[in-house]
């Protein structure tokens, strides 16, 4: 083999990044930017000694960010004799922080479970991140136990706001978005420090500090209208671990506290499905046999769901939920009623079940 890798062909992105990581791990004292640009594979081919290397410098800045996004601790060291000097900053990757800790061992069963956990995300950044995490785990050479047969679990992230919000959260950036609360005529701008993204009761929520209210708030991602933007120059210190659990506990407490009482027509889809969600606990003495208790976090979300059951469900309480379901059904009815058609305002609902 030739002793150098000097090539005429363009160096691929992964070769340049790989060479940069190797060079920065191999150095104890760190490399200056000039060292890197002039010597590291992928940069040196384009480096102009004494010339204008500004586009190469920008390339290096992007590469640094990309490498850090992969969890590689790329450090900047200020020279002790010349603090504050940009020219003599040194870059390195401390090996001890780069490597998986020696004492962390994964069993074959654990690996099998992690493989399944990684498949939960089918799309978006969480899917790419799970895939890369598994690649790193495979480096350990553990063979996983046989997979549990017959499972194909998946979680979706359908809201376009998820990616910008979670990115801003990781970078400690303040975001702004328009939020449409049900019952309010127009969406209102919110400026928020994102603390956690949580999936509860099948819905994605943002938990964060509302800067106007100076208090934490939980937002349904489905109610964010329009784009999420980062507020220039506004950043915040990470709020630390446990934010996600805090948000989930708050939602769980809300879910338990809110109870709707409904009846479902016996034998119907609603009766079968909602009965399986019937909240344990006391049933009021005056409730009939078909009455069901449903916990909920958000009245309007539950109203949407119950309206879908049409005549199979009758809401008894709370009154607000009852009104919300009724007005939804009326709005659907009216939107699908043609002015010239012959409408029976009270169709025989019982025929629906056997239709």
């Amino acid at each position: 083999m030739s002793s150098t890798t000097q090539k005429n062909s363009r160096v691929s992105v992964e070769e340049r990044l790989f060479s940069l990581v190797l060079a920065l791990i191999a150095t104890e004292i760190g490399l200056t930017k000039a060292d890197i640009l002039s010597t590291v594979q992928g940069y040196r081919q384009r480096y102009l000694p004494g010339g204008d290397n500004s586009s190469l410098e920008r390339q290096f800045e992007r590469d640094k960010d990309d490498i850090r996004e992969l969890g590689i601790p790329l450090e900047v060291v200020e020279p002790p004799d010349d603090p504050g000097s940009n020219h003599h900053l040194r870059y390195r990757i401390p090996k001890g922080l780069y490597e998986l800790p020696m004492d962390v061992v994964f069993s074959p069963d654990e690996l099998m479970l992690l493989k399944l956990a990684a498949t939960v995300w089918r799309e978006g950044s969480l899917s790419a991140e799970s895939r890369r995490a598994m690649t790193k785990l495979h480096a350990l050479g553990i063979d996983s136990s046989d997979p549990v047969l017959g499972y194909s679990p998946s979680l979706r992230v359908r809201e376009a706001s998820f990616e910008p919000l979670s990115k801003a959260m990781d970078r400690g950036q303040v975001v702004a978005f328009l939020y449409l609360k049900p019952g309010e005529a127009a969406a209102r701008r919110r400026q928020v420090e994102p603390r956690a993204m949580v999936l509860h009761d099948g819905r994605w929520h943002l938990f964060g500090t509302d800067q106007d209210a100076a208090a934490t708030r939980t937002y349904l991602l489905s109610r964010i209208v329009g784009p999420v933007v980062t507020v220039p120059g506004a950043s915040f210190e990470a709020h630390g671990e446990g934010q996600g659990q805090t948000a989930l506990s708050e939602l769980e407490a809300l879910w338990i506290a809110n109870v709707a009482v409904i009846s479902a027509r016996p034998g119907s889809d609603a009766a079968l499905r909602l009965a399986k969600r019937h909240a344990p606990g006391e049933i009021p003495a005056n409730a009939d046999a078909s009455a069901l208790h449903l916990n909920y976090t958000d009245l309007n979300v539950l109203a949407d769901e119950l309206a879908g059951y049409g005549p199979e469900v009758l809401v008894h309480s709370p009154a607000l939920l009852r009104a919300a379901v009724r007005s939804r059904l009326i709005s659907v009815r009216d939107a699908h009623t043609d002015s010239d058609s012959d409408v029976n305002p009270h169709p025989d609902a019982s025929t629906e079940a056997g239709a």
Partner: protein, 331 residues
């Protein structure tokens, strides 16, 4: 800007960084074995090995001399498709997880923790702690609440494992109860909804069933048929059939993802930021439930009989509130 580089470069770099320590631990290993272990195509392994073998550090001379580079046993690689690392540079262990990588796996585990197999809370917690310790920064705050796993999951999963048919009473979207005999293939979930995918002996076709529409479920001792294995489980949860009906709906652009399950197509323009999409449905009974649950968002435009089905459903629902007084909880 960030991440704007050729998509996949991050994946390729991660693979290179993971492959080196793996090869170090295996003195001689075939490309096939590596490709199976990492779950990647053999050509990706060969490309990576070709790159690793000529990579290294600038070294004291800053010239990438031979001793500064990785090296492999080229004859073994080229003649036998076997990888033997003969010289190592700079790295010898797998990189840590990023904050987001650890978070993605932890959130996936939180979701799986509701499955009956994973009822061991301590084992899951210990695994999450290991992931946290293996990340280079505190995992991102992405959390997922467990869903209410149903006892039916246990029955179905055992039947998949044992290769036996299951039998249950199923209420379809038309409101009909039918006894079904099914070769279970797998339990699929989408968020908090759980489904069984399998071969339905009544319909003699692959079908997807909602677990929450099943009742009186039990496993039989009849082995699943060979025929169903031939049909092979497809990845998709729902599939169209020739008898499907086209329905045109109008909705805000932002709401289109809500209908993703119905594979909306067509970009026929509509005034303002509302768009029209065509959905394929097996019948209108699922549609009336879908549309009534999206009041003020989705409107069925055509055909006229679909509009009538939706209207009658919503009207019948609304009419129930004319009959009953709000206060008579007990009726």
């Amino acid at each position: 800007m960030i991440g704007g580089q050729a998509l996949g470069a991050s994946d390729k770099l991660t693979f290179l960084l993971a492959l080196v320590p793996f090869l170090m631990d295996h003195d001689r290993i075939s490309v096939t074995e590596v490709s199976e272990h990492f779950g990647v195509a053999p050509d990706r392994v060969r490309d990576a090995v070709n790159l690793i073998a000529v990579s290294g550090i600038p070294g004291e001379t800053r010239q990438y001399l031979h001793g500064d580079l990785f090296d492999i046993h080229w004859d073994e690689f080229e003649a036998n498709d076997v990888i033997v690392l003969t010289h190592l540079v700079a790295i010898d262990d797998s990189p840590r997880f990023s904050a987001r990588e650890a978070a993605a796996l932890i959130a996936g585990l939180q979701y799986l923790s509701s499955l009956p197999e994973n009822a061991d809370v301590d084992a899951i917690a210990s695994l999450m702690a290991k992931l946290t310790r293996s990340a280079s920064a505190a995992p991102s705050q992405v959390a997922v609440s467990g869903t209410d796993a149903r006892s039916s999951i246990t029955v179905v999963q055992a039947a998949v494992r044992d290769g036996v048919q299951i039998e249950f009473d199923y209420l379809n979207a038309r409101g009909e109860h039918e006894r079904r005999l099914v070769d279970p293939w797998r339990i699929q979930s989408v968020d908090s909804d759980w489904y069984l995918r399998g071969w339905c002996h009544l319909r003699e076709a692959a079908r997807t069933f909602r677990l929450d529409r099943m009742s009186d479920l039990h496993a039989t001792d009849v082995p699943t048929s060979l025929r169903s294995a031939d049909a092979g489980p497809s990845e998709s949860l729902f599939e169209g059939s020739a008898s499907d009906l086209d329905v045109t709906v109008e909705l805000p652009t932002s709401a289109v993802p809500l209908l993703a399950d119905y594979a909306p197509h067509g970009a026929a323009g509509a005034p303002g930021d509302r768009v029209r999409r065509t959905l394929r449905v097996a019948h209108f009974h699922g549609l009336k439930r879908l549309v009534s649950g999206l009041a003020g968002v989705v409107e069925v435009v055509a055909p006229a009989d679909a509009r009538v089905v939706v209207r009658d459903w919503a009207a019948a629902g609304a009419a129930r509130y004319d009959e009953a007084e709000p206060t008579d909880v007990g009726k």
